[in-house]
Amino acid sequence: MAKPVTRLQAVQLAFAIGIALLLIRAAQVQLVSGHHYAEVATKQQTEPIELPARRGTVFDRNRLPLALTIENYRVGVAQNELKNPEEDMRAIAANLGVPTREVRRRLRSGWAYFHGPYTSAQVQPLRSIIGIHPEGPELERFYPDPNLARPILGHPAADGRSAGGIERIYDAWLTGEPGNAVVLRDRQGRRYESPARLGSFPVPGNDVVLTIDASLQEIVESALNDALQRFDAISGDVVVLDPDTGDILAVTSLTIDGRASSNAFTGVFEPGSTAKLFTAAVLLTEGLATMDETIWCELGEYQTEHRKIEDVHENGWLTLREVIEFSSNIGIVKFGERLTATRLFEGLRQFGMGTPTGVEFPAESPGILWRPHRWSATTHGSLNMGYEVAVTPLQLAQAYAAIANDGLMMRPSLIREIRDPNGALVFEREPEPVRQVISPEVAAELRDALSGVVYRGGTGVTAALQAYHVAGKTGTARRAGPDGYIPGSYTVSFASLFPAEDPQLVMVVKLDDPKDIYAQSTVAPLTRLVLEQVLAAQTAALDHTRLSRPSPPETEVSTSRGEGPAFVSAWPPSAELDTAKQVVVPDVLGLQLRPAARVLHEHRLRMQLSGWGAVASTDPVPGDTVPAGTVVRVVGRSDEGADRWN
C-alpha cells in the first residue's frame, strides 16, 4: 500500500484533473458556445412584447370627451378548472351580463369564450376565480355618446377598415408610440412581468380638441331628426359656423332612416335662391346697382330669348332689396344681366363656389362652378337664381359667414387645438382669413336685406324670433338625379345669421325632398326652433354677454400669422383697386399655388393660373413694376389637374 503522502498526492492530482476538466468544459460552454446557449435560454425563459400606446382623446370645444380609449378584455373559461362551477357560473353571468343559462350551455363543451368586449371593471372580480382566463387588455375606442357627431369623428383604422373622419386626418397626432418589454416565462408558458426588463414605456397619443360644441351638436342633430320625420324629407343637413373664426360649432347630415353621414362636407346641391345674395353682392361691389334701385318684375312671367322665368308672386316694380326679400327670380335675373359672365364667375368664385373650403376633413367636395367658356346660353340667368352651380352646405355656410363677418371670409375648421398627454399645448389653430370677399359696407347692406327677408314680410318670416333678430335667406331648388331633375322633388334651404346685428352664429339648414316644398314652412321654422333651443341651453357656442349688450361690440380679426393690423389677402375687387398705384411683382417661384395666390393678392395683383403644383414661372417676372390689379400669369410645374380650379 502506498504511503499516505503518495495517496494524498494522487487524490490531489485527481481533483486537479477534475477541476481542470470542469474548467475546460465551463470555458467551452461559456466562451465557445455561450452565445448559442444564451439565445436558447432567452427564447425559453423570456418573450419580447409590444406595449400598445393609448390613443389620444378627442374632445369638444369645452373639453368634453367625445372619443376616448379604454382597455377591453375577452374572457375564456375552462369548465374543468372551475372549483365551484355553479357559483362561478353565476359570478360570470353577473359580471359579464350574460344569462346564467347561456353560460351553462356554452360551458357544456368544456371551454367557453366570451368575446365581449368587457371592461376592466367587469373582468376584475373574475380574476381571482381559477379557471377563468381574461385575454387582453386591448385598447379600443369608446364613445360616451355613441351617436354624437360620429361621421365627423370617424373611426381609427382597425380590422382591415381604413380610418375615417377626424381619426384619419389627425391619426399621426392621435397615435402614440408603443413601448416594449420582455416578460419572463415559466415552463408552463405563464408570463411574469419583471420591472428590470422594461425596454421603453409606451407614449400615449396627443389629445385633439375640436371646434364642435357638444350641446349645440346635440340640439341640431335632434332638431334635424325630428324635422326629417315631420316633413317627410329623405335627408337633411345642418351646419353652424362661428363667422368670426370659421369654427364649425355643429354639423350633421342625417337620412330619414337615421343614418348619419358627412354629406355636409362631401355632398353638393344647387343652392337656389340662397345664391341670389351673391349676385346682389357683385352688383353692389361693382356699383352696377343699389339696394333701392327698382326693376320691373314682369308680373311674375318673363320670357327671355332662351327660356321663360317665373316668380311665385306677380311682382311689379321691386327694389334690389325687395328682390332679395321676396326672392324674385325675374328681378335677380334682370339685375344680373348687368354683369358680364366673367364678373359673375369671379364674384361667385370669391364667395368660394367651386373651390374646397380647406376644412380638415377627408374627401371634401369643391362643388361645381364652370368657367364662362363652358356656359350655355341659359347659364348666366341660372347662376343668378342659384342653378347650374353646386355647393356643399359647408360652402354655403362659409359664404354667408363672410357676409356676417363684414365681408371677411374665414377658413372653416374643425380643429381648435392639440395637446400632449400632459396637457401642454402642442398646436393652437388661429382663425385663418381667406380673403376680403366684399367691403364691410356691402356686407352691411346685404345683412339688412337678409333681415328684411325675416322681418319685412319676406320669404323667411317664419324664422323670426321676437326678442332677438335673425337674418336669413330661403332657397328652394329642384333636385337633380342621375337622369336630370327629378319631377316634384326639391331641396329647401335656409341660410341664417344670428343675431342679425352682430352675428355669432351662421346656420345653414337644408332638407331634401320634403313633402312641403316651401322653405317658409319647413327650414325657416326649423331654424327658429334650433335658435330657441340654443338660447335656452347652457351652451358656450353663444356668447350671452354679447347678446345682452345694447349695441354690437367692435370686433377684431387678426391675420393667420398674428401680426400687424387686420388685413387679408384679397382677390382684389375692381372697386377697391387703385390702378394708378405701382407695385413690384413678388417672387413666388417655387411656392405652392395657394401661398403664391396669397402673396400676389397681398401685393394687390390678380392671378391667372396655368398648370398645377409649385410655381414654375410668372409673367410679368418677379421684380417688375406694374400697376395694381395687373393679372400675373402663374404657370405651375404640372399641367395635370389644371381643371381642379374649374
Partner: protein, 95 residues
Amino acid sequence: MRLKGRLWIAIWLAFALAIFAWVISRDTSGFQTAGELRDLRNEQSVLQSERAELLRRIREGESRAVLIPRAESLGLRIPADSEIVILQATARERR
C-alpha cells in the same frame, strides 16, 4: 495568524450563501414589485373603465332625449326667445 482550511471553506460557503440569498431576495422583491405594479395597473384600468361608464351615463342622463320628455311630463317646456332674459354682466364679471 493562519486560518485553517476548514475555516476558509466555511467562509467561502457563507459568502456564497449570502450571494445566493441576496440574488433570491432581489428576484423575489422584483416579482413582488411587478405584482404590485400589475395590481396598480389593473386598478387604474378599472377606474378608467368606471370613469368611462360614468361619463356615458352622465351624457345619457343629461341628453335632450332623456331630459325633455321628463321636463315635459312635469309641465315644463322650452321657453320662447321672448321669455329669456339675459342679464348684462358687469365689467368686473366680464373680466
